[in-house]
């Protein structure tokens, strides 16, 4: 009985703390976990003095990292400055009554300077790195673009807000599933460019080198590069049983079959490189599962409360798995990677890919029968579409 009392007091305390710290407004608490909360309120900031591209960049970048825009009087942090020549600005913490950031930028485009400022604003306010920059440059995404909504297309690389897009394939054929090689300006993707067959390519955009790394009999699809860049997980059917999960070195050597599941698809990696998570069917139930990347037992990952999970993506901090569920509509769901709580449904959409901050996602939102990419802060559920460059943009991958 005493233990029961302790447990219930602990839970009561946790709940009341959660309510106290995060439920000041009308937004509901969903899950309290290690200080991170789904359904949390955005941080109110004011933005004064900026215009044009600089203003729109700052608004986009901050919105998709959990900030909202209010008047200077209502703001917790006041951001002010100008972009009459270059971007210059500062951030004032109204409660602490002090300037916590004061910066000016030179040498870049207005957009890149504004991204750099947004990155520093996020770090100054939250203490955690922003997502606007990756290794000093504006963070990139890769995605699939299809002018007619299906059929031939190209892989594109752009800034994460959709600007500065560049075509990354020379195909005019079916392409799919770009996956970044972490730490490099390089992708693995699926293309039907050779022989009109689905092969997996490695494409390095610094050297320009591109090579086929998997062209086994059957389909070679759904590549996913390991966090250390040394390996690639993929779906092959070379053994003629059914499409299953395989892993190879990044050059295609040392191929190994990992699974024999009935309905395997869409592999991704745990950030420590030890696990490959994928969608499958076990005992007649569609589920997520994981298998050791070096081979071993397949383990089911419970996704209680949602059905037909596909397209998992494991957050860079290891805590979360985002995926697509299908229960009538297709929804973006997020759950603790250790299965310790049920998935939370965030919004309509498909194919989530985590940003390095492990709280912002890019995903494909269906509009009619085509896709538009959208950037989402999972904890505030704030999302903004990015500009569409073709009839249908899908399968986004955030550079890491």
């Amino acid at each position: 009985m005493k233990n029961y009392l302790k447990i219930c007091l602990a839970i009561l305390f946790a709940v009341s703390v959660a309510n106290f710290t995060h439920a000041q407004g009308d937004q509901p608490i969903v899950i309290q976990r290690e200080g991170t909360t789904f359904g949390m309120k955005p941080i109110p900031v004011s933005l004064d003095g900026f215009s044009g591209d600089a203003e729109s960049v700052l608004k986009f970048d901050l919105y998709v990292q959990g900030f909202s825009f209010v008047s200077a009087a209502d703001a917790q942090y006041q951001i002010s400055g100008n972009n009459s020549a270059n971007v210059i600005g500062n951030v004032t913490d109204k409660f602490a009554k002090k300037v916590i950031l004061s910066r000016s930028y030179t040498g870049g485009s207005l957009r890149s300077e504004a991204h750099a400022f947004a990155n520093e604003i996020v770090e100054a306010i939250t203490g955690k790195p922003g997502i606007s920059l990756l290794r000093g440059s504006t963070a990139k995404i890769a995605f699939k673009a299809q002018p007619k909504g299906s059929g031939p297309g190209e892989i594109y690389i752009s800034d994460f807000d959709g600007h500065n897009s560049q075509v990354a394939t020379p195909e005019k054929t079916i392409v799919a599933a770009p996956s970044w090689v972490p730490g490099h300006l390089a992708l693995c993707y699926n293309s039907y460019a050779m022989d009109n067959n689905p092969y997996i390519f490695y494409h390095d955009y610094v050297s320009g080198q591109r090579k086929v790394i998997a062209r086994y009999g059957g389909s070679n699809i759904s590549p996913s590069v390991s966090p250390d860049g040394g390996k690639v997980a993929m779906v092959l059917d070379k053994d003629g049983d059914r499409p299953n999960i395989y892993v190879a070195n990044i050059d295609g050597s040392n191929l190994r079959r990992l699974t024999t599941g009935e309905e395997d698809s869409s592999p991704c990696w745990s950030p420590d490189g030890k696990w490959i998570c994928f969608a499958t069917k076990i005992s007649e139930h569609r589920c997520l599962a994981k298998v050791p990347a070096s081979g071993g037992e397949v383990q089911r990952i419970p996704t209680s409360g949602v059905l037909n999970p596909t397209e998992p993506d494991w957050s860079p901090d290891g805590k979360w798995i985002a995926f697509t569920s299908q229960m009538g509509d297709f929804n973006i769901c997020v759950m603790p990677a250790d299965g310790s709580a049920a998935p939370v449904t965030i919004t309509n959409g498909e194919d989530p890919s985590w940003a390095p901050n492990s709280r912002t996602l890019i995903f494909a939102r269906r509009s009619g029968w085509t896709y538009t990419l959208s950037v989402l802060d999972v904890f505030t559920k704030q999302a903004k579409d990015i500009g569409r460059i073709s009839g249908s943009d899908s399968e986004p991958a955030w550079a890491r």
Partner: protein, 192 residues
Amino acid sequence: MKTNLIYTFAIACALAAAGCAHKPGQLTHLPSTAAPVVQDTQPNPFPLPTEGNNPQPTWEEINGMKADRAALAANTIHFAYDSAAIRKAESANIQAVAAALKSDPSTKLMIEGNCDERGTEEYNRALGERRAGAARNALIKLGISGDRVVTKSFGKDKPVGPGHDEASRAQNRRDEFVLLHPANGATPMGGS
């Protein structure tokens, strides 16, 4: 008794907090929320050693051959939504494809699996491969050697029905059979 009440209240609070994003009234999830299951581990239900009895031919063997899309165009088979099971109604088509392969041992076959527009992209790409594989397995059961039959999937990227209605979707959930002739063999009837 009192502690039980508090315990119940605490769980109810936790559930209320945890459940808000979903439909209200999902209190039936109590066991999994109150006592989190960290890992649902079970032995691998799909052991590896018995697999791989009918490996696919390599693309190198296939790519040099002459593709005849017309020969078996009438035998395209269709699938139910989100299913790779071959329907009984399609057995005549499978028989016809098997007969064509048996009548000319120099031929091979490429099966192209396709999906309708619903469903996530890489799931559908795997589903198309499973559809092609289902037809391949059916042909193997009819005595066709696995090394004569290669599969590939277009996922939902190669629809033939233009619409977004069930009629178009039903057309798109299909396997197409492409007869392959040796490159240096006689020119097949029906063109290339």
